[in-house]
């Protein structure tokens, strides 16, 4: 479908063989045997190991570095200081607001800006020796006052994270969509909230890692890495490393989880690359947990919201105001893309006529943000759902019913929200009703009343949230009036090859496997096209060198993009095979049809050639091919974003940039212990609509895993900085990821409203669970503590905070602290 084209009517999925069947994942046997090979497992002859000297200070000038003692240690091959690194490589790729004034480097140059920032790199025969030698690198620091509180930092112009910026506010802009002031003036009621979503992180069990291999004979640099390879963008990384882009090859390796943390983690790749370029030997840099937590560029949103919802006395929403301060840490290499993401669905599942969104990106002495499942849109989901719950309570309307009143209706799709983004399709009331039934809402409301009568603090919370999927590149620049480049491509390319026996291999051009079952998705999509078993499909990965354009996983795009790319390549192969078959049948290609893995002449099923027979002819019998065809049976296809439109010049319309819109309703029932502040999940149901499902069991795995992370965001996980800028939660003993005892069993249901703009009607679903659970948990805690008048306005709602809120409420009326 071309950009901005007419949206067709929704096509229900055709009669499908593999799509929609829960299928064992093709990746799994090797991981079950421990033979999966993560990047940390790689060995190369002569390989060296790198360790980073990290800053103990949040903010300090580097007066000097004496590395001589470290260099003398046997087994140490080189020590590279920040100043030396700046001679070897250019700054890292950075799409932040002013990359020349908050320069993002692989090692700090003149001053350190957060605890853990690298100041030097030790390269040695083993990691043990590198870490020994690290202790002998003598860094002379002049400590500066730490900049910790983003509210204060935004006002301060005397103490700056980046002096060249002249401010700690990297970005401040207000976007207005529609007649917000009129809608607020006309409103009967305005509900306000002040919210704080604290800093977390994706925290996969595997850390970032890379092996750089520079070949002095050819000048080529290969980097094996568990980051995204992204041929689409590899030239920028090549430029940083001062290698011609066609002599630069990033080869993807599996990662033990990502959830965003492997998205563009340039520092790891550049560390390994520069170390190898310098020494001429393979060099491995594997983050350890402390490296990852403090210096991995992967903290998540840390936001303070002032939000307002204007509505009629009947509970009809009119307009939404958002004013958000985001503590980005010391750099912002992904710009404010996490807010672009939020604006894809800022008005939620509701008919809201206008909205205003102000964002201030503040820099502080903390590790910078990267991506985490939801990429900032999960926070906006929480904000609007908090407002809706507050409105429901104020108007004494059931939380399910106030949502039902305001849902966008099925016949209104495709629906443009005020920001300009389009929702392709949906049926939100159907999802809500399914969830209420699955949960047993009426029954458990009655049970809740009985339990409360026994003195138990039991609450039920419900949210109905969006999951945008399949991003367009425009969300990374529509922030700026004059962006350097207005990219509009977010492609995904694949190559499909049928060998002489007709066996199929799909070549993926961006994918590291990181738990997202990319191989299975690709194999099932190929299987669907060719009527073979997915287990028989060969999978290979192509590096960035000579690769097809591909942007890789992120924004729940991969399955949709693979479906388009594989469909395209399969069509090319089948068209060629059909012509060969037609020649053999002495029939018109128009009369030759594909049936169950072979070709037949229409109406004469006994005249048939299996695909393998045609493949044999294509490979081995050139003289028998139709005029103009060459030997072989392979095709590449690059699938572009299915539907992008350009933002308006004045940015009162951001265009369509995230159109494949999933939806879910989550309902949680919790019990709160008012003495300890502990929250126990008694019951949890989730109904999702991610369009046509490819592998339901895998999708459910993503939903449950995402929900577990969302519950952890709501209750447990936080990266805590003290007021001196020291990170207090720098290990798994302090950053509390849930065990099996903290995560409930989920009841999962599905609706399938196909997308009208993607192959098979698929939408993305990989981030969904985490985008709903924080809101559902917050609402359930509110409800459990309704006697105290508590409204959860800060996450995580740790036991300590809950006890404090109850205390501040005086054990009676009142509300959570603002």
């Amino acid at each position: 479908m071309s950009r901005g084209a007419e949206i067709p009517k929704i096509q229900a999925p055709r009669d499908l063989k593999w799509i929609g069947r829960s299928t064992r994942r093709v990746e799994d046997p090797k991981y079950l045997r421990g033979l999966g090979r993560y990047v940390a497992d790689l060995e190369f002859p002569g390989m060296l190991h790198a360790a980073i000297v990290r800053s103990p200070h949040p903010h300090a000038r580097i007066l000097g570095i004496d590395a001589e003692a470290a260099r003398q240690i046997p087994g140490v091959v080189a020590v590279v200081t920040g100043a030396e690194a700046a001679e070897l490589v250019d700054p890292l790729p950075d799409s932040g607001p002013a990359p020349d004034r908050h320069v993002f480097r692989v090692l700090a140059l003149d001053k350190v800006r957060y605890v853990g920032e690298g100041v030097a790199l030790v390269i040695a025969e083993s990691r043990y020796i590198a870490e020994d030698a690290r202790d002998y690198v003598d860094v002379d620091y002049e400590p500066l006052d730490p900049i910790v509180d983003p509210i204060a930092a935004g006002q301060d112009t005397s103490n700056l994270v980046h002096d060249a910026l002249g401010s700690n506010v990297a970005y401040d802009r207000t976007f207005t969509f529609g007649d917000v002031e009129r809608h607020f003036a006309e409103a009967d009621i305005v509900v306000r909230d002040r919210l704080h979503w604290r800093r977390g992180a994706a925290m996969p069990l595997d850390n970032g890692g890379a092996v750089g291999i520079y070949d002095p004979a050819t000048g080529e640099l290969t980097i094996h890495a568990n980051s995204i390879s992204m041929t689409w963008f590899a030239f920028a990384l090549a430029a940083t490393l001062r290698i011609p882009s066609n002599k630069f090859d990033v080869i993807s390796y599996a990662s033990g989880g990502s959830f965003g943390a492997r998205f563009c983690n340039w520092r790891v790749l550049v560390t390994a690359g520069l170390a190898s370029k310098l020494t001429g030997r393979p060099v491995k840099y594997s983050e350890d947990r402390l490296d990852h937590i403090t210096n991995g560029d992967q903290h998540a949103s840390d936001r303070y919201y002032d939000v307002e919802l204007a509505l009629t006395r009947d509970g009809i929403f009119r307009s939404l105001k958002t004013d958000v301060i985001d503590d980005y840490g010391a750099y912002c290499h992904l710009g404010v893309g996490t807010h672009g993401n939020a604006m894809a669905q800022v008005t939620g599942a509701y008919r809201i006529e206008s909205t205003v969104y102000r964002v201030r990106a503040v820099l502080t002495n903390k590790t910078q943000q990267g991506a985490y499942r939801g990429f900032g849109a999960e926070v906006a989901n929480w904000a609007i759902e908090r407002l809706v719950d507050k409105a429901a309570r104020q108007l004494d309307i059931d939380p399910a019913e106030i949502r039902r009143k305001n849902f966008i209706q099925p016949e209104q799709f495709p629906y443009h929200i005020p920001t300009g983004n389009m929702y392709d399709s949906g049926d939100y009331e159907r999802v809500l009703d399914h969830a209420l039934e699955l949960f047993g809402y009426d029954h458990w409301r009655a049970e809740q009343a009985r339990m409360r009568a026994d003195g138990r603090r039991v609450g039920i919370g419900l949210v109905s949230c969006q999951e945008r999927s399949v991003y367009s590149a425009t969300e990374f620049w529509f922030w700026y009036d004059d962006p350097a480049v207005q990219t509009t491509s977010t492609p995904e390319g694949v190559k499909l090859t049928a060998d002489a026996l007709g066996n199929l291999t799909v070549t993926l051009h961006s994918t590291p496997f990181w738990g997202n079952s990319s191989d299975t998705m690709a194999a099932m999509l190929v299987a669907e096209e060719f009527d073979v078993d997915p287990a028989t499909v060969g999978i290979e990965y192509h590096g960035t060198k000579g690769g097809l354009p591909a942007a890789g996983p992120g924004g729940s795009r991969l399955t949709v993009m693979y479906a388009g790319a594989i469909r395209g390549a399969a069509t090319k192969i089948k068209d060629k095979a059909r012509r060969i078959a037609a020649q053999q049948f002495e029939a018109d290609p128009e009369d030759v049809e594909w049936v169950d893995g072979g070709f037949q002449v229409r109406g004469t099923p006994d005249v048939r050639k299996e695909f393998g027979e045609i493949a044999m002819a294509a490979h081995l019998f050139a003289t028998e091919l139709p005029e103009g065809l060459q030997s072989g049976l392979e095709a590449s296809h690059v699938y572009d974003h299915p539907y992008t439109t350009m933002p308006s010049k004045d940015r009162t319309d951001l265009g369509v940039f995230y159109p494949c819109m999933g939806h879910a309703c989550h309902i949680a029932m919790v019990e709160v212990d008012v003495e300890t502040g502990g929250v126990k999940v008694l019951r949890y149901a989730a109904v999702h609509d991610a369009g046509t499902m490819v592998n339901p069991r895998s999708l459910e795995g993503q939903i449950i895993g995402g929900t577990a992370q969302g519950i952890a965001t709501a209750l447990l996980e936080e990266l805590v900085y003290d007021d001196q800028g020291q990170l207090l939660s720098s290990s798994f003993t302090d950053f509390l990821m849930p065990t099996a005892m903290e995560v409930p069993e989920l009841d999962i249901g599905h609706e399938e409203t196909p997308s009208p703009i993607t192959e098979y009607g698929i939408k993305g679903g990989g981030e969904a669970g985490r985008m709903m659970a924080p809101g559902a948990m917050s609402a359930a805690i509110d409800d459990a503590l309704v006697d105290y008048g508590i409204h959860v306005a800060e996450l995580p709602a740790t036991p300590e905070r809950i006890v404090r809120w109850i205390g501040e409420a005086g054990g009676g009326a009142g509300s959570a602290p603002r």
Partner: protein
């Protein structure tokens, strides 16, 4: 500050790993996880946190699960170790616990999986018919960041059924022989 690795002394140990005996000369400070991964090439165990919390480095040492990242290699002197590579009976067949994890999609990225599989083997030896709650409690020793644990619990229950049914099939065979 101690001397660096290159001039450090080594200690000899003997250890049996996946049924094969090894004589190794180890630097005393070298972690057991690194010995298995680097010296023996058994990279199935993974290092997630390196401080004994996550369990990605779990192995069976004399039949019991331990975290190999918080043991020194020399502490394994005389021990019998099973790593994930030693679990499947052959290249063609998986262990019933591995089969159950595959069938139930009890894994996503695979990083915690070796530890989860070994922990499940240990649990089912002690309790061949656990409830879901018991399974949950047993695997709470190990962190998984992907699955939310539910399908791992499904896999443990499925594995228990597979092992019990295999044991029942073996019994009449044994009585005949």
């Amino acid at each position: 500050m101690t001397a660096s690795a290159s001039n450090a002394q080594t200690l000899p140990i003997t250890v049996t790993v996946n049924g094969r005996a090894y004589e190794l000369a180890l630097e005393p400070r070298k972690l057991l996880a690194d010995v298995l991964r680097q010296d023996l090439g058994l990279t199935g165990l993974n290092i997630g946190c390196a401080h004994g919390v996550c369990g990605s480095c779990t192995i069976l040492l004399d039949g019991e699960t331990v975290r190999s990242c918080t043991l020194f290699g020399v502490q394994a002197d005389g021990a019998e170790i099973t790593t994930i590579e030693g679990v499947a009976p052959s290249f063609e067949e998986l262990h019933p616990v591995q089969e159950a994890f595959w069938a139930q999609q009890g894994l996503q990225c695979g990083y915690c999986t070796p530890g989860m599989v070994l922990r499940t083997i240990e649990l089912l030896r002690e309790n061949p018919d656990p409830t879901r709650e018991q399974a949950r409690e047993a695997i709470a020793s190990n962190l998984c960041r992907c699955t939310g644990y539910q399908f791992i619990v499904d896999a443990v229950i499925d594995a228990a059924a597979r092992l019990r049914s295999a044991a029942q099939q073996e019994e009449p065979d044994e009585s005949r022989s």
